[in-house]
Symmetry: C2
Subunit: 118 residues, 2 copies
DNA sequence: AATAACAGTAACATAGAGGTAACCAAGTAA
DNA sequence: TTACTTGGTTACCTCTATGTTACTGTTATT
């Protein structure tokens, strides 16, 4: 039968795994920029995002978008236009990231002040 | 003179940089585990952390601790014992991470349920 | 005299993240 | 006819993060 300490350690392991899950989904040099770009305009085409984010290549954008789609954060829609355009938008689940991103923003500012020394 | 759109874009860039600052300080395969270990016991020695985290090597622990120290999240104290022991604890600044880690935990659980499908 | 604990460091190896450049197919404007 | 736009894919290369193993110096224990 599990004693209190074992239970606590199990809980702790679960929490660690959860944090790592979050970090993994947000990781990749461009993910947060991409999410922000889409979020900012609600709906955004591939080439628009490519222009929004300076420095990103089409290869990386394609790759990161795929991962975001797999993680159900972003929805991809092919529009029947000429030439074909593809629209990306956040899913409901993607929207739930906003609190986290907002917290990361706040802490990042705090941290920079602390390190650089205002 | 900057128009509204330019100002907005500048703000957006700052926010992006802030998020990346946060992600960068938390990145590294073991950082969050290390922070959690120290946080859990308030004060923790090198070899204790090494035992707390399964899979980490002394090389990586040393390296990650250094980065955490540079980022003023962790304080290192050499104790005058035999043999010498080194104590690590969170700084006040390190403590401010708790909200973020807690948010990342919550979202990670939510996300896993969404992806695995409960 | 040999071994172990402590807190690391040094040397080397490898997988994977990310960068660069070229290419594809379909349609369209010059 | 040529070149451009759109949304990618493919091949190749490099660099960094991490892993593995062995080693350091000091003191205490056996």
């Amino acid at each position: 039968m599990g004693c209190k300490i074992e239970e606590f350690q199990q809980e702790q392991k679960k929490r660690m795994r959860a944090v790592q899950d979050s970090m993994d989904t947000l990781n990749g040099k461009w993910k947060i920029s991409i999410i922000s770009s889409i979020c900012c305009y609600k709906k955004r085409r591939f080439s628009d995002i490519l222009n929004d984010i300076e420095g990103i290549s089409n290869r990386m954008l394609s790759k990161e978008l795929k991962e975001l789609e797999i993680n159900k954060l972003v929805k991809r829609t092919v529009l029947d236009t000429q030439p074909i355009t593809v629209q990306y938008e956040l899913t409901e689940h993607g929207d739930t990231l906003q609190t986290i991103i907002s917290n990361l923003t706040d802490w990042g500012i705090l941290h920079r002040n602390k390190i650089v020394g205002k």
